[in-house]
Symmetry: C2
Subunit: 234 residues, 2 copies
């Protein structure tokens, strides 16, 4: 019999990293907020070494930024940078969807259809906003991304990029009616996948994410970020 070690030899730095990401996601650490190493390490019951290591790794993923001899702080991307990330997500998820169309199994397609079926009967959908911006939308995209079978793509979209996006609660900025529209777009994507039409699947996914980006852009313009002023005007 062969089994995985229960605790995968998780090092303190690993735990500290997870804990940091959690804290940022939960909102305990706000974007731009500085992190005092010594204090945080004491609170976690570890020394500064492993904590610094966790910080360095997140720094490599641009979730944290460090100013030499000053300190690390949670990344605080401007509205423009968030849009940039969404644009990248558009083409990358398009790619994932194209690949998924080629190699998705029947079982995976069924699962996707079932997820969408659950959505349609879910009460939140009728209500409007919340659902698509929380787990429902996530599940749909998640399944497709995993179906791409591309290790790097999965890591990027489900790991780095997704966490980066999730930090900033701009999900809340969905417009009323966006949920229903998104649901219809999901249907179109599913159709293309079932038809095993890579080009159509990619186009449908790109259109879907592009619309979400557009909605986001409008929402962001309402609470402007001064850092974007200098490059607007075009």
């Amino acid at each position: 019999m062969q089994m995985e070690p229960l605790a995968k030899s998780r090092t303190l730095a690993d735990q500290a990293m997870d804990m940091l990401v959690e804290a940022i996601l939960r909102g305990d650490l706000e974007p731009g907020e500085r992190i005092a190493e010594a204090t945080l390490a004491r609170n976690l019951g570890i020394s500064r070494g492993p904590l610094r290591e966790a910080i360095s790794r997140l720094e490599g993923k641009s979730l944290l930024v460090r100013k030499p001899h000053v300190g690390v702080s949670v990344a605080s991307p401007s509205a423009g940078e968030i849009i940039e990330v969404f644009q990248m997500r558009e083409v990358l998820e398009g790619l994932a969807c194209r690949m998924a169309a080629k190699q998705m199994t029947g079982i995976e397609l069924d699962r996707l259809e079932r997820i969408l079926g659950d959505h349609s009967t879910h009460s939140d959908l009728q209500d409007g906003r919340a659902y698509y911006q929380s787990s429902g939308d996530y599940d749909f995209h998640y399944q497709i991304i995993v179906a791409s079978r591309s290790k790097r793509l999965i890591d990027t979209l489900l790991g780095d990029l997704y966490q980066f996006i999730r930090i900033f609660r701009y999900r809340a900025s969905a417009k009323p009616g966006r949920a229903q529209q998104a649901f219809r777009e999901h249907m179109l994507i599913l159709d293309a996948l079932k038809a095993r039409d890579p080009a159509a699947a990619e186009a449908a996914m790109r259109a879907h994410v592009a619309r979400a980006t557009e909605t986001l852009r409008i929402a962001l313009q309402e609470h402007r970020d001064p850092r974007d002023e200098h490059r607007a005007s075009a």
Copy 2:
């Protein structure tokens, strides 16, 4: 009078990181090779702390991989993973090219045209292979990526992804005649950019990178990687 700080407060960890990347690019550290922290730190004249920090950052960028309690080693992606990165590059550079088409200045277009002009008269081009796989091709893509004005896109394509790709010298695997074809493809891209046609520019760039990927795929099949066997067969 305004001036840059002389030495940008570069920390030992920063220098160690650059040094590591350099060493990997130069080939001093081969893919899969393990890194002995203590030894390397001594050779660099620093202690293990900053070195570990540099390692952690590169770990976050998946240039190095760490196995707990065993050690770090240079990432050694399988042929399949390299193809995956190229596929991501295809859509991301396509995006960059689309954005560049919208906002490139006349000066930038001139510079690009000049680069291409240099290429056409460059002796290596007539010879065949080497040129496009070295700095020439890089310059062309570099200019377009920068012209996208997207901070994240530039970081990803010119930083993380590019270094990752560069580590593995599969550039050498270009086929004879590929250089001339690539040159023609560059011309098409430039045409679309000059016409300020975003869709055409994106399509042209995607086609260009897709062809390079295909060439690479063929070259990689010759020296197979055993790790890809299980997922082949399709």
